[in-house]
Every structure is written in C-alpha cells, then in structure tokens.
Amino acid sequence: MNADKKAKIVIIGGGPAGLSAAAAANEAGAAAGDILILERDNVLGGILNQCIHNGFGLHTFKEELTGPEYAARFVSTVQERGIPYLLNTIVVDISVDGDGSKVVSAMNRTDGFFTVRADAVILAMGCRERPRGALNIPGYRPAGIYTAGTAQRFVNIEGRMPGHEVVILGSGDIGLIMARRMTLEGAKVKVVAELMPYSGGLKRNIVQCLDDFGIPLKLSHTVTDIRGRERVEAVTIAEVGPDRKPVPGTEETYTCDTLLLSCGLIPENELSSQLGVELSRVTSGPVVNESLETSVPGVFACGNVLHVHDLVDYVSEEAANAGRNAAGYVEGNGSEGKPEEDGTPVQVIAKDGVRYTVPSSIRIGRMNDLQLIRFRVGAVYRDASIAIDFNDTVVRTQKKRILAPGEMEQVILKKEDLQKFEGLKTITIRVDTSEAKKQ
C-alpha cells in the first residue's frame, strides 16, 4: 500500500495522553520530525480545555493549575520541540501492513483524505460519556438532557447555560464539577442521584462541589421518568433496592428544565477494535503489557482510552511511559526483537474486589526497575488491605483505610523481586477483607 505521509510514531489524539506521549517519545530519542500527532478537535489539549476548574497538576508540577493551564504546559513543550501535529483531523482506520508497519487513514479539510505509514502507533483517543439511551431511562425524549461533559462545553467554551433548574444523575467527577459550575452561574441544582450506594467521583469533589453548596446527594437512587415533550419539565427519581431496581412508593418528582448525566465513561476503542486490538471486558480498553503495548505489536495505548483515570497527572505519567516505549520500539528494541530474553510473560490477575489491572502481563526482561500497577476496586472497603500474591504466595499486604471505586489505586513492583522469585507465573492483586468492613 502506498501511503501519503510517513512517520515513525503516529499518536492518535492530542489530549493530555497524546501530548505527554509525544514529549516523552522525543525525550527518549525519537526525532521530533518522526512523530506525528493527529487531533480531531481544532486545538490541542483535549477535554482539559473545557475543564476550567483547578486541581490539576498537583502531582506533576507540584502546583494547582486549571485544565487549560495544565494542557498549555504540554502544548508548549510539543510546540517548542517542533513535534508536528495536525488539527481537525479524524482518523478513520488503522491497519497493519504485511511488513508490520501501520497504515493510518485520516482526513481533514487541508489535506483531504490521506494515509500515514508508521512504525508505531500510540492510541490516545480518550473516552466518551455514557448516554441516556445506554442507561435505559424511560420517559419522553425532550431537549434538556445532556451528559455532564456536553453541558461543561456549553458553559465553559460557548458561555451558554443549557438550563437553570437541574437534576443530575450519577456522581461521576464531571457531574460533581458541573453541579458547582452551574450553581456558580446562577442555576439551581436540586439533587444529585447516584444509583450505587457510593459515589463514583473523588471524595474531594463531593465535599467541594456538593457539600459546600448544600446540594443533596442521594445514593442508591435513580431516574425513573422524564417528563416534558419539548423541553424537560420534571424528572422523577426513586430509591433502588439491592438489585438496583427502583423501589415502588419511593418516587419523588423534581420540576426542572435540565437533566445532566454523569454515569460513567467509556474508553473509545472503535478504531482499536477495527485494528484487531484485544480489549478488556472490564475496562473496555486494550489489554496491555508492562510496556503499555497492546496485543498488536507496535501499537501502544495510554490515558482514558486504556482505562478511565481520575487524575490527569496519572494520565500524563502513564502516557509518558507509552511514549518512551514506543520510541524504544521504533529504535529496534521492539517485541519482535529477542522474545527469549523477555521470558514468558507473567500474568497479572485482578481478584477479590480488584476489578482489573493495567498492565495485565509483565515481561520481566522488559520491565523497568520499578513497575507501576494501576487498578480500581469494585466496592467501598474500610480498613482492608491490598494483597499481592506471587503465584500462590502472599508477598505483600498494604493496609488501606479506605478503598473506593471512584479512586484509582496503585502498587509498585520491583524488578528484582520478580527476578528473585523462582518460577513466577502469576501476580495476583486482590482486596484482603479479613479484617475489613465492606460497605
């Protein structure tokens, strides 16, 4: 296949993950001109551009930045290094050619429909919000029902209010942030209903965005009806039982003109699927090894396309890792190199309350001295421990005062520990609840 352009590393997505991956790949030796970022929006920075609240960068820069400020630091780096990028450019297909190179098909107004041949691809497309339809909420389908992120764009980018009397379903971070944001712009946020018995967002957001403004959070509640033929007029919420089904007789109706949904984020892996990348049923993101490389050699993934993060700082860190590994791959240190030196990959298994891990396998020969394992738990646990088993042997337990699905957890493994352990086949990460209370 003849390609219109060539690059060593094509990065799909110019949000926080893609930008950090690009900078790190460059630092790790990939020439700026050999990298190409393809961004679908008309600016770099991704969703950070509409996250005008602060709280970003505490880990990365040791200071508190807004989303656009945080993005700007990475955008400056990319621009200063002369790493090329194309805006308003949508990738429509990625395929692997016979020689293992990747052909990325894309289009934009300036270049038309074109292809880029690359040695490595970094997937950094981010995620989307779960819409009303996927939640099976019955009722009418009027105007005024938005995902929290869409409302955020209206308010923060367009300077427009989608409505002034608001009910929010779901306590994801964007919903919590928008509860505060719309309140500050004069809206009345009447209630936040959350299906689960715990919030899906960060504790700090519950405190700063709801509690500080007196906005009630109703756990174990869901929306059972939406009224209004043209524009939302009222929303009914009801308590749910342990089966998460509404309990008859608990319905309460709120008059409102807007229903915001913050009910989960879904990694956008349609391109990855087309390419044949194996996806995790739990995260909906690619299954990756210690190098954040997917099941397709030379294709890496990072950021929210891989798994949904709570802090952008972690996205940047993870993406930098993917960028370095991609740079290594194109320098000939790729997985097609010397697999015998890598050894059989050690499987990382999520068990007992741990929903998934990233990565899900480790080639000891390829790992860094320290290997970060990130994961989320499936329920709220108090005073439990994170246990790490090598094969069937418990090698470490870490006490945790609280574990919650809304907060990403991590453990760090040392390469020497893995090397020392004779016949290591599996590493299991689990919640040890022997002394704990599950909520």
């Binding site: 679908r40 289009m107 934009n108 107004r109 300036t110 429909f113 009303r132 869409t150 209206f154 409505g163």
Partner: protein, 480 residues
C-alpha cells in the same frame, strides 16, 4: 387558492405530495412540526413488509403488496437506503406452525411471492442466532428494510423540487367550506384556501375527518416501544425476525436496520394520549423479554437508545384511502398504521389517481422523478472519499465521530430543499448524533453549523419542536 392542501408531512403526506406534483397543480403541505417525519413516520420498525399479514381484499393488503413491489425501483429513483434482507416469521410449536401455514396461504392470496414454511433447523441455518426453541418459520424472500426518515425526506425533497410547497410549524385548527373552496385555518391565525384537501394527519386524521364529515372515524394511538443497539451488533441477524402475529399486531421483532444497528420492538398498547410518545420501564422490559424469545444472547448491553411511536389505528382496522362520502373534495389517508411505511408509495399513487379523476390536471412537463441523496462519507470507499473531499473540503471535517458525519453533509442537510432546521432534522438526514455517544460530542458543533447556515443565534436552535430550545438564554458574562 391552492389546488390541493395536504395536512401532515409524514411519509404518507410527503409521498402523496410527490405523486400529486407529477401533474400541473399547486400543492401546499401543512405540518404542525418543524420538519417532515415528526410523528408516526419517525418511530417505527423501518420494515418493508412482504404482505402476508393483511386480510385478503383489504386496502392494507392491496397497498402493502403494491408498495412492497414498488420500493426497490423507488429506492434507486429517489436514492434512499433500502435492502431486501428477507424475513422470517418464527413458530415454537404445532399451533404456531398452523398459523404460519395460514399466513402463507393468506400471503399467496395477497400475491406475495416465494413464501415457504421451513423447519427450525433450516431457519437457524439462515439465522444462527435464532432461539433453539424455534421449530418452524415462514420464510419471506421479499421482506425488506428501509430508512423511514430518508424515505420520507426523499419524497418531500422531490415533491418540493417539483413545485410542492411545505409550511412547517403550521397546526391546522379548523377546516370549513366545500370542494373547490375549502378554508383551512391554522393555530397562528393564518387561513389557506384550497380546492381539495388530503388528510394525512396520522393519529389526528380522525380529528380532521370529523371536522367535515358526519360519518365519523375514530383513531386510537397504539404505542410501540423500541430499543436500538450499537452498530457493533451488525450481523447479529440479517433477516427480520417476526413472531406469530396477534390481534394487536405483528408482535415483537428483531431486525437489522439499513445502517447496521439492531432494532428490537415494538410493544403494542392502546393509549388515550395522542402525544404519549414516552417510553416506560414496563414497555422496555417487555420488549427485551419478548425479543429474547426470538434470539439467543441478545446483545442488550449494546443498547444506545430507546424510543416510542404511535400507530394510527382506526376502529375498522383497515386503511382508509378514499374521498369522504359526505364531503366531496376531502380525501382521507387515515388509519395508516403498519404496513403504512411499506404502503406509502402505493397509497400515494392511488390517492393521486383519485384526485386526478376529479381535477383532470394535465401531466407536468419537466417533472423530475429522480433525486440524488446526500453523499455519505461513512460508507464511501477511499476513492470516493478523496473525490468528495476534492469537490468540497467540508466533507473532510468530521463533526459526528461515532457515525463519521462531516460538516459538508450537515450543511447539505440544512441547505437542500425542505432542509433541516432542527437538530433532529439533521440527525434524520445524515445520522449526525445517531451513534453510540448519542450526540454528546457533536451537539454543540451541530448547533454552531445550524446557527451559521440558518442565520440564527444558538439560543434559538431547537431539538425538534418549537419549544425544544437546547439552551436557556444567550451568552452570559461570567462574574467569576
């Protein structure tokens, strides 16, 4: 004074307007909504029925068979998505087999070709996902699927190109007068005069009929709820899978759409409220349960949206396509429930014949029978994409990423004859916002384009009806 006023711009009204526009006559279509396809036509199964369900001798049977036979050629002439995907009516026991044999016989009387009762194994060989409990099936090679929105839009655009005028946001409130001098009054106080009237008002057709005729008709809104699944489910079934019909309709079906989604539904519940297009928890659960009888491992986790539509069921149970007996010049296309979509081309043709008998209008020289649809970047080959982008760079600017819809296509949807003025109007023409994120990302971008192309402010952009503003007020000055 118009020659003909058509009330209602659903598929029936638009098809009739197009047929009427073949001859020299002035035609005005009055529609309460802000677009075509705002009522029953937008929320149905999108099926081109083979024609075995209707009782022989009924108008339904006649229109169904003829419409089904017309659809393929029409889809080329007017460039809308249609596919003869075949259909199966499935049975689970001997009683069902008996029903299928009766349906087959009935279909043959109606003139349906190629019907065959096959075994459960034969059915599963065609459709591997069919339930293990299926013991027999009626195979209908002429069954098909159509995009109901684009079918309606195609009729409307072509009617407009041939001179028919459309007025939206125009709710008819009163009809008076007689043949040659009817007066049609609307909610905003405007009155229109027409020599003849066609009543294609869906669930409200009885209201208009009863304004001029003492021989009252009665239409019940019969609600049907549906669930639509992600295109990832493409290929789950290829044929349309029906269950054995009951007196309330054809039962819950499982079908692919023309665009590769999977659709399940509808329920069938008579309701009082002619505006009651809300879904219900019970209805949606019922659809999932019943569809689950037809197929194994229904991918209900892939649901992207649900919706409800209202069938216009007339008490007599048949289509009424006729001149009102006691009001000459007033023509009904009433009680157009299923198979109304399939029948629309035939109803229109027949209606035009009825009117031509009366007005003897001469054929229009220069009638343009053909229409070319909006290009579809999502389904174009790389070569076609290159050519389209070379012609207009806006075809390379993707607005809706889930369905790969470009700015060029959206601008087309707005600027064509009978163009879109609403978000839903854009969606139905080019599928922007119809994908898995359900317009989460592209709503603001689409609104920008609509505002720019129609010279309106963002706060005036609506989802569908005139009270469905997407924003609450103008641009604010933040004080923070």
């Amino acid at each position: 004074m118009m020659d003909v006023i058509v009330i209602g711009a659903g598929v029936t009204g638009c098809a009739i307007a197009r047929e009427l526009s073949r001859r020299e006559r002035s035609i005005l279509v009055l529609e309460r909504g802000l677009d075509v396809c705002e009522g029953t036509s937008k929320a149905n199964s999108g099926i081109v029925h083979a024609g075995h369900d209707a009782k022989p001798g009924t108008m339904k049977a006649r229109m169904n068979i003829e419409g089904s036979r017309m659809m393929e050629a029409l889809s080329r002439e007017l460039d809308f998505p249609y596919r003869r995907n075949t259909s199966l009516v499935i049975g689970f026991n001997e009683e069902d087999r008996h029903t299928l044999e009766e349906l087959k016989a009935q279909g043959e009387v109606n003139g349906v070709e190629g019907l065959a009762v096959i075994s459960g194994e034969e059915a599963r060989a065609k459709e591997p996902k069919l339930s293990a409990g299926v013991t027999c099936a009626l195979f209908c090679p002429t069954g098909g699927i159509v995009d109901p929105f684009l079918l309606t839009v195609a009729f409307a655009e072509n009617a407009a190109v041939n001179g028919a005028e459309f007025r939206f946001g125009t709710e008819v409130t009163k009809i008076s007068g007689k043949e040659g001098a009817f007066t049609v009054e609307t909610a905003d106080g405007t009155a229109f005069q027409a020599k003849r009237i066609v009543n294609a008002a869906g669930v409200y057709a009885d209201v208009f009929h009863n304004m001029v005729s003492a021989q009252h008709i009665h239409i019940t809104a019969r609600k049907g709820e549906y669930l639509l699944m992600d295109k990832k489910t493409k290929g789950f079934v290829n044929a349309t899978i029906f269950q054995c019909p009951t007196k309330m309709g054809k039962g819950v079906l499982v079908t692919p759409t023309c665009h590769g989604n999977l659709l399940i539904g509808p329920t069938s519940v008579d309701i009082e409220d002619k505006e009651g297009v809300n879904t219900t928890a019970e209805g949606l659960a019922d659809v999932v349960e019943k569809a689950g009888l037809s197929a194994e491992d229904l991918p209900t986790r892939q649901v992207i949206t649900s919706f409800a539509g209202l069938r216009a069921h007339e008490d007599g149970g048949d289509f009424i396509v006729a001149e009102a007996a006691d009001c000459p010049g007033f023509f009904d296309a009433a009680g157009i429930e299923s198979p109304g979509l399939t029948s629309a081309p035939a109803i229109a043709k027949y209606m035009a014949e009825l009117i031509t008998e009366k007005d003897k209008a001469p054929e229009k020289t220069g009638f343009k029978a053909e229409r070319k649809g909006i290009p579809c970047m999502a389904e174009a080959t790389p070569e076609e994409r290159k050519a389209l982008v070379a012609e207009n760079p806006l075809y390379a600017n993707v607005i809706c990423r889930c369905e790969l819809v470009t700015e060029g296509e959206i601008v087309d949807a707005i600027n064509r004859p009978v163009g879109a003025t609403t978000l839903d109007g854009v969606k139905r023409r080019v599928r922007a916002g119809m994908g898995r994120c359900q317009a989460g990302f592209c709503t603001p971008k689409q609104m920008d384009i609509l505002a720019r192309e129609t010279g309106r402010d963002l706060q005036d952009i609506v989802k569908s009806g005139s009270g469905s503003q997407l924003l609450d007020g103008g641009k604010f000055e933040s004080t923070h």
